[in-house]
Amino acid sequence: MADGLSRTGQIATPGLRRRRGAPARELARWGAGALGIVVLVGIWELYKLLGPADGLVLFGNRVLPRTSDLAMPHSWDMLARLLEPVTRADGARPLWLEVAVAATLTLGIAAAGWLTGLVVGVGLALVMQRWKLAEWGLLPWIILSQTIPLIAFAPVVRSWGSRIEIGAFEWQDWMSVALIASYLAFFPIAVGALKGLQSPDTIHVELMKTYAAGWWKTLVRLRLPAAVPYLLPALRLGAANAVIGAVVAEVSTGLQGGIGRILIQYAGQASGDPSKAWGPIFGAIVLGLVAAGSIALLGAMLGRYRRVEISG
């Protein structure tokens, strides 16, 4: 009652009520996230403590891993290892810094791939929205493109790329990786953007027609804003794909300096230093979170275009 009266002149609506309860819900969400990590660590340590030393072998297949420090380092060892130097060499950087530097490089490449995927994906969606014939012609190929395994064409892209040299421009190895990342990123973006651009109701399309608004004005005032709720999940998916694509492409093209490379490199050293291999794994997780978080930030900035989604 007091709450209702204090906001004089404001009507209680689903939208406003939701915002009022938001801090508590936000806290609960973070709590649930933290709880998830605690549970995961708990299961890990509990199994390590109680599980059979040689793991569980059924019919000659090991279905549960060995519990030795070599196969399953303690979670605190993994964290402690992050603070220690990468190698015993003098002046070696701490592991976390090495991982962070590599992750930053990969993030940059993935971002370049994501941006390329965004341009290509939205471009394809625009063409398909504009001409129905283009949708019939292009969409099957777009879907088919995703059935080609990444590792099959990563080396091809690299060797083609190495032959490209236009004037002062020379193809760099990281560009091959970014291109492969964009190849994975563009797909959900193209499909999501097309769905979003086609989402306006007939009534809105006809209204624009009565305003004698052409395709371009209808696009800017109606179709693009209406596409935002569809585009955001697609962009998030595209970002995740770009990160995965970049990491895998780094491995298969052998690019130095990225997190894909040190993932392989440290895994090779795991027999002597099992905790070290987990550094780049954590790095890759953080990378994915940063990528997804950037999209969440973008979504927050585009809040007004998501009102239907919020209130509906």
Partner: protein, 274 residues
């Protein structure tokens, strides 16, 4: 009381047929329609569901094209009139853009046609108060009731001061109380703007209360059965009290009988007599 104000008629429809091609064959939606709406006149189209009254309005709006015959709006072909923005339109659903506030929704046609910013702001402020939404100018559509949304839609239709308003059951989704209030507001708004109106409705009392003339249409293929001229006070002078007067009920009876004429059954389906 058709007020012939002289000059060009708002709408002039001559010999219009409309045939829709569907998968199961041709459907004759309209047949032999002749109708003239004078400038400043309020004309309602009424008839059972599927009589083509919405189709007829869509032809005037150039959202569909007639199979034969001509539709002209202020002496121009309907397409030219649409491109010249000679009419404002409101549908059964408000059709507001959810990411735009009340003000921004009303502003949409003005900004699409490049009106200067200051002029836009002044016009929007004027319209917001015309439809009585002064306190809600910065709200989003999902924060408004159905009646308020519909008022925004009407304000948007009026934004460019059209001399013709096309309304397709704009109050159809509202409750009876809101509906009557909106009708009174529409009467007031029309008096203030002097626009001609083509108003599609299911409701006989609504048509009678609002109109100078009521066009009664027969079921498929849609024809004009009868045009009933309302012998009531001038539309601008109509007030709530009219709803309880003899003349009002007489006109309701007249429209109702016109509707029943062409129908073999006593009750005309799809027409609300409330």
């Amino acid at each position: 009381m058709t007020q012939m104000t002289g000059g060009t008629d708002a709408v002039s429809i001559a010999g219009v047929d409309k045939v829709f091609e569907t998968r199961s064959g041709q459907v004759q939606a309209l047949s032999g329609i002749d109708l003239t709406v004078a400038a400043g006149e309020f004309v309602s189209l009424i008839g059972p569901s599927g009589c083509g009254k919405s189709t007829l309005m869509r032809l005037i709006a150039d959202l569909d094209q007639p199979s034969t015959g001509t539709v002209s709006v202020f002496g121009k072909p309907a397409k030219d009139a649409r491109i010249a923005q000679d009419y404002g339109i409101a549908f059964q659903q408000a059709g507001l853009l959810p990411w735009r506030t009340v003000e921004e929704n009303i502003e949409l046609p003005l900004s699409l046609h490049g009106a200067p910013k200051a002029e836009r702001a002044a016009r929007v402020a004027e319209l917001v108060s015309l439809v009585g939404l002064g306190d809600f100018a910065d709200r989003y559509p999902d924060q408004l009731s159905g009646g308020m949304q519909q008022r925004v839609a009407i304000a948007r239709a009026l934004a460019e001061k059209p001399r013709l308003l096309l309304m397709d059951e704009p109050f159809g989704a509202l409750d009876e109380m809101t509906r009557e209030r909106m009708q009174s507001e529409l009467v007031r708004i029309c008096a203030e703007t002097g626009a001609a109106v083509v108003f599609v409705t299911h409701s006989i009392p609504e048509a009678v209360f609002l109109s100078d003339r009521v066009v009664v249409m027969s079921p498929r293929p849609g024809r004009i059965q009868e045009i009933v001229t309302m012998r009531l006070a001038a539309t601008a002078d109509r007030e709530e009290g009219l709803r309880e007067q003899h003349e009002f009920f007489d006109m309701i009876t007249a429209v109702r009988e016109a509707l029943h004429q062409g129908s073999p059954v006593a009750a005309v389906r799809g027409v609300e007599t409330r």
